[in-house]
């Protein structure tokens, strides 16, 4: 873990792995690595929360274990489950062999061979045997509070008890990244255990860097104009402003359509890549769009003249 000596190094390493992090995020990541605490990332949809986890796994060359949250997540689907079908088959097989010893049967049935390991158990096992993985707990707000309480327990000492087998403890805590879209407030108790960072929509220059990094074949002029356009779009009152993920998608779409420069018909045809609510598309009048396109292009002309 001591690979990175400074925040700058972290920032540079992330950039190398195609993730543009600002100073604040780099600091949070640096601290996460140093302190071994989970990192809780919140922000609007599509600002690159999940990508942090993926990039970190790549950057640190550690396995990525991803737990996508949903309502009703429980021990069976996150830690372990017994393979009931195999257990039953085993019982039949033993019966056929005339096995009478219940104790032996039980010992067999609840052995490692019948255990299905779920993400959290996998993560803890990996720390024992090999490299501590990056554990990405994605969209925690979708899970219910019961799961949160239970996660709290796991995160506090990274140990899991399976009654039939015993207690498993992580030798070195895995690197935990938790993301949330804030469709519900995460409980304070969990927040207190984490390093918290709110990822914002990136400013113009940063978003341009992201686009050029992620869509390298986009013409320079187009990239600048489209980022400028998206930035303008975010200043309007929309139910769901486009995230960085949408910007990247849009850049790819425009490149696929062989656009060299932003123009109004092109924007109108591809607006669905950026805005996903019909209300928002309706609310944008032609004038607004025209204005935004002109702004995106005009500003560049001004800059060119200077």
């Amino acid at each position: 873990m001591g690979e990175f000596k400074s925040i700058d190094e972290v920032q540079a390493a992330l950039y190398e792995h195609v993730y543009v992090a600002d100073r604040a995020l780099a600091t949070a990541v640096f601290l996460t690595l140093k302190l071994g605490k989970p990192l809780l990332l919140e922000g609007e949809a599509g600002v690159g929360k999940t990508q942090v986890g993926k990039t970190l796994a790549e950057m640190l060359q550690r396995p990525l274990i991803r737990l996508q949250c949903y309502e009703g997540l429980d021990v069976n689907s996150t830690i372990y489950e017994w393979n009931y079908t195999r257990q039953m088959l085993h019982i039949r097989a033993m019966e056929a062999q005339g096995c009478q010893d219940t104790a032996e049967l039980e010992h067999d049935l609840f052995g490692a061979g019948f255990l299905i390991k779920r993400p959290l158990l996998q993560a803890i096992e990996l720390t024992e045997t090999g490299v501590p993985p990056v554990l990405l707990i994605d969209e925690l707000d979708r899970a219910d509070q019961e799961f949160e309480a239970f996660l709290l327990e796991v995160l506090s000492d990274f140990q899991i008890t399976i009654p039939e087998i015993g207690t498993l403890r992580a030798a070195r805590p895995p690197l935990v990244i938790i993301t949330s879209n804030r469709t519900r407030e995460i409980h304070d108790a969990l927040k207190r255990r984490c390093i918290y960072h709110w990822i914002q929509y990136p400013p113009l220059e940063k978003e341009l860097r992201i686009v050029t990094l992620r869509v390298p074949n986009a013409p320079v002029l187009l990239a600048r104009q489209l980022v400028q356009f998206v930035q303008g779009l975010r200043t309007l009152e929309l139910f769901k402003a486009p995230g960085v993920a949408e910007t990247i998608d849009w850049a790819e779409a425009l490149v696929t359509l062989d656009m060299q420069e932003l123009d109004l018909p092109g924007v109108q045809d591809t607006l669905g890549v950026l805005l996903k609510y019909q209300d928002d598309i309706d609310a944008l009048r032609r004038d607004d769009l025209k204005q935004l396109v002109l702004q995106a292009r005009g500003k560049l002309e001004m800059e060119a003249r200077l």
Partner: protein
């Protein structure tokens, strides 16, 4: 609907079986009680307002028709030191004789009979203790004179049955108190939401985990089957309450109601907001057990009490800033407003549509709907009406009971909604999407009252 209503009626009757037929008037018992408190204090027995209110509450359960019971109830609630007992005795005897003498009817009929007859006083239409009294509320007393002090108390006690159907804005202070107490006792149940969790129970699916373990002792033969059933949770409730000027006479009462909801027995998640010119979240202020404490805090936190109304903007603010955070789990949304809107009704319609799409059920409680002549014709209300699942009155206790009934019957399935054709956008600007221009745009056919 009416399990709750039933309960209330019964408790009103429980006070005295004769009360309902005999006297149906909102009374000044509380005034008498408070004066009694004053007298006690004067004589050196410390009694707090809280204690008096407790006594008032107790009268719902203690048959006031038995003087002895009332005496002991009062004594147990008001006297906290042994030394005060004799003083209390004196005060009790003195006060109730004073009350008798003081009653105007006793004055006018003093020669006739010396017994009090407050009920008759009401019949003669004289206003009692600074309160307006509707003619319909005056009891049709048969004129029988009861000899005991008790009948007098019954006469002045305000039976809940009357309070239930009285419009909040016409209520006297005592009636408001009675209504508040009744509200706190209403049994709020919200419709259930299917969760994705299971626990063991009869029927349903096999609980495999338990199944293997439980049957090991039979050598793996599956002799005992265990099952698991789905867990159901009450739906979260989101309340948006109008506190603008036009709602002034209702809003405090309705906030009491929201508070009662928050502290319901089932531990329902309630998110509460108030709005007049802008939207304020008040969930945290309602956390106090004590209503008055909550409301005091609210008074400080909310800047725009009794201001103008811009419902559309308030709902927009809710949609943009809160909807994603609080409407996640099949929430029921309750809007309390009279629909007087000074804002943009186009926007209101649009935001109501959005809100309806993200709510499991959208209920609008309108106090004005209680008025027989009311038609939802104000611009705002008319615009919003098309997007409401249930349109209910919210002017008296009975209507809140009706709401309680509705809430507990909220089903798992969403109510059926008609698909709305978008109204034309007000601006003359042509739309840039030619496909949409082909749509036939029609105004919404108006929906009947009590939709759903």
């Amino acid at each position: 609907m009416d399990t709750a209503g039933h309960r209330l009626t019964q408790s009103a009757i429980a006070v005295d079986p004769h009360a309902a037929q005999d006297t149906a008037q909102g009374g000044n018992l509380l005034v008498h009680l408070l004066r009694f408190g004053d007298l006690l204090r004067l004589m050196g027995v410390e009694t707090s307002l809280r204690q008096m209110l407790d006594l008032m509450d107790a009268l719902e359960f203690v048959p006031i028709s038995r003087r002895v019971d009332f005496y002991y109830a009062a004594q147990s609630l008001l006297v906290t030191r042994r030394e005060d007992l004799p003083i209390f005795d004196q005060a009790f005897a003195l006060f109730w004789s004073l009350v008798q003498d003081e009653s105007p009817s006793a004055e006018s009929n003093a020669t006739e009979k010396k017994q009090p007859r407050l009920p008759r006083q009401k019949k003669q239409g004289e206003p009692g203790e600074g309160q307006t009294r509707d003619a319909e509320l005056a009891p049709d007393a048969s004129g029988e004179e009861s000899n005991s002090i008790l009948s007098q108390q019954i006469g002045v006690y305000s039976p809940l049955e009357v309070v239930r159907h009285k419009d909040f804005r016409d209520m006297t202070w005592e009636e408001i108190q009675a209504a508040k107490r009744a509200m706190a006792h209403l049994d709020w149940k919200l419709g259930l939401r299917r969760t994705r969790r299971y626990h063991s129970g009869p029927g349903g699916r096999l609980n495999l985990r338990r199944l293997v373990r439980d049957n090991l002792r039979f050598g793996g033969e599956l002799l005992r089957l265990t099952y698991r059933i789905r867990v159901y949770h009450p739906r979260p409730l989101v309340v948006l309450c109008d506190i603008s000027g036009s709602m002034e006479r209702y809003s405090r009462m309705l906030l009491h109601f929201v508070h009662a909801l928050t502290h319901g027995r089932l531990g329902v998640d309630v998110e509460a907001f108030v709005f007049s010119t802008h939207l304020t979240r008040i969930t945290h202020h309602l956390r106090h057990r004590d209503v008055d404490e909550s409301l005091d805090e609210l008074g400080l936190a909310v800047q725009d009490w009794s201001g103008g109304t811009r419902i559309g903007e308030a709902i927009k603010a809710f949609n943009f800033n809160w909807a994603r955070r609080v409407l996640g789990r099949g929430a029921v949304v309750l809007i309390i407003s009279d629909g007087w809107d000074r804002g943009d009704s186009q926007m209101l319609a649009q935001e109501m549509a959005r809100l309806q799409r993200s709510a499991h059920r959208l209920i609008w409680l309108n106090p004005l709907l209680g008025l027989p002549t009311y038609e939802p014709s104000q611009r705002g209300m008319a615009a919003a009406l098309a997007y409401i699942d249930d349109f209910l009155p919210g002017c008296n206790l009975a209507s809140l009971e009706q709401l309680a009934g509705l809430l507990s019957s909220v089903t798992l399935a969403r109510p059926e909604r008609k698909q709305h054709v978008r109204p034309p956008i007000a601006t003359s600007e042509p739309k840039f999407r030619p496909a949409r221009a082909n749509l036939v745009l029609r105004p919404h056919p108006s929906r009947p009252l009590h939709a759903g």
